[in-house]
């Protein structure tokens, strides 16, 4: 629920109303231009910092702790470099493609190099510079999540080219369609903070990449114990904390929508952490720290599209679903199908995102304490649900196809994988010349 152009009713602080009334009274003139709200701006500055923290150090630690020691730094380096790379791409072209222009599928190039964004440009009640940077942090974390599928075997150079191209060819268009005024937005798809744009998008790309790359040497036969789950726990915790900026920040204001988005985020995440832990305890005999952390992330993912639309009821249900379905996907489906989605970017983010996106279409209904269905749904939960299915389905197909093409091009040019020997030695030494 974010856009450069509109800021829905709930989003307007009382101050803006005051300003409106006041200027009407004072000048008895035309409707005033939107004015900056310092409270909204304060929250959005903060949210931007929080979402950046989710990627670095959040994702870097979360993923880094799960690989083997010899590849720990390579995961951190991939995450850190992706953060830098996407920031630059976003400023140059990505932001414009996502949020400028009126195309159904993609924006235009009118905002190349942030043309037109000055000290006084506004986006709703906040500076455009803040809106642009806030969106940048979303553009950063999405490809960073894909790294979970490709660790311990992909060349560093190939990672950068893959994720850079993916950002331009997949992320920006989908962001435009769902948030930037494109056709999915017009069709009433509800995706408050990025279940579709961020998580399904990243998870599906991860699965395609895992399939194209192939398994790690020794996958399925050797034990590949995580190097240090303290890192993973810390990363999960920073993801959780930062997600307040992700979800409540997607209100683009410090208001009741932001507040409820935060509250349901906390509830769904906690429920999902307990659910994953519980089902693991029952089915595998022990409740693991990695399980709790994974459940929490799955809960965060699933509540993402729903936060700002649903109420506490919806949060409880989404939380339970998010603890169980991604667990089954990450443990059983993956084993059954035999792909090496190494750190479960697909199992957690795509599956969790789908669960959340679909349930959003149900629990956003006012009947369940939600903020209401989209006007396109004409009051029917079923219609909203089908709209959500359409959004999810389109994203999966578009994403899978374009990701596959990017990867095949890279494979046939620079190659995707390190050599077998480098894989044995570990990517830290041979890709980066460093070691822990």
């Amino acid at each position: 629920m974010r856009s450069l152009k509109t800021n829905p009713g709930i989003g307007l602080g009382i101050m803006a109303v005051l300003g409106l009334l006041f200027s009407t009274a004072a000048f008895a003139a035309d409707a005033p231009p939107p004015t900056i709200n310092s409270g909204d701006t304060a929250w959005m500055l903060t949210s931007t910092a929080l979402v950046l923290m989710m990627t670095i150090p959040g994702v870097a630690l979360f993923y880094g702790g799960m690989v083997r020691r010899k590849n720990l730094l390579s995961v951190a380096a991939a995450t850190f470099a992706t953060t830098a790379l996407i920031s630059v791409i976003w400023a140059i072209v990505g932001y414009s493609l996502a949020f400028k222009g009126n195309g159904a599928y993609v924006g235009d190039l009118s905002g190349l190099f942030l043309k037109g964004m000055g000290y006084n440009s506004l986006s709703g009640t906040i500076p455009e510079s803040v809106f642009m940077t806030f969106q940048m942090t979303f553009a950063i974390i999405t490809p960073a999540l894909i790294i979970g599928s490709i660790v311990e075997r992909m060349k560093f150079s190939a990672i950068l080219l893959f994720l850079g191209a993916w950002s331009i060819l997949v992320y920006s268009p989908i962001a435009h369609m769902v948030w930037g005024g494109g056709w999915l937005m017009g069709n009433g798809v509800q995706d408050f903070a990025g279940g579709t744009v961020v998580h399904i998008n990243a998870g599906v790309a991860g699965l395609v990449a895992a399939l194209v790359l192939g398994k790690r040497k020794g996958y399925g036969t050797e034990a590949m114990p995580p190097v240090n789950l303290v890192y993973t726990m810390s990363g999960a915790a920073l993801l959780w904390v930062g997600w307040f900026g992700f979800n409540a920040g997607s209100a683009a204001a410090a208001n009741g929508t932001a507040g409820m988005a935060m509250a349901v985020t906390q509830i769904a995440t906690a429920v999902a952490a307990l659910s994953w832990m519980g089902i693991e305890w029952i089915m595998r005999g022990k409740p693991t720290l990695l399980g709790m952390a994974s459940g929490a992330v799955a809960g965060l993912v699933a509540i993402t599209p729903a936060s700002g639309f649903v109420g506490p009821e919806g949060a409880f249900v989404i939380g339970i679903a998010a603890g169980i379905v991604p667990f089954l996907a990450s443990v059983y489906l993956k084993r059954m199908m035999g792909y090496d989605d190494s750190l479960d970017a697909f199992g957690v983010h795509a599956v969790g995102g789908i669960v959340g996106a679909l349930l959003t279409g149900i629990f956003s209904a006012a009947a369940f304490g939600g903020a209401g269905l989209s006007t396109n749904a004409g009051g029917s939960i079923l219609t909203q649900f089908l709209i959500q299915v359409k959004g999810v389905g389109f994203t999966i197909i578009y994403d899978a196809v374009v990701t596959f093409i990017i990867l095949m091009v890279l494979k046939m040019t620079i190659g995707l994988r390190v050599t077998e020997e480098q894989e044995s030695e570990g990517l830290d030494i041979n890709q980066h010349g460093e070691r822990v």
Binding site: P225, P226, R284, K286, L290, F327, S330, V331
Partner: protein, 112 residues
Amino acid sequence: MKLVTAIIKPFKLDDVREALSTVGVKGITMTEVKGFGRQKGHTELYRGAEYVVDFLPKVKLEMVVDDATVESVIDAITKAASTGKIGDGKIFVAPIEEAVRIRTGETGPEAL
């Protein structure tokens, strides 16, 4: 001189070191090792996937002693390290032909 090598359970380290002091062992070199033997390894979980870890944490103590002390050293270790459960570990004895104290250049049993 003999090299006595003892592989024991880590939490017995303090007891064994004390026992060795009482029989007059003046120097020990300790290494953290992993042991594979009759003792069943534990199971670790990773996102629901289980794998058995066969190599268990053990502590290896090496000490060079003169021939006369070997018996009492073996005895002391055996008593202090035993819990009666599988995995208590082993003691090995091997010949040592020469020993040198780096600081002084002393050799033979003086060097120990």
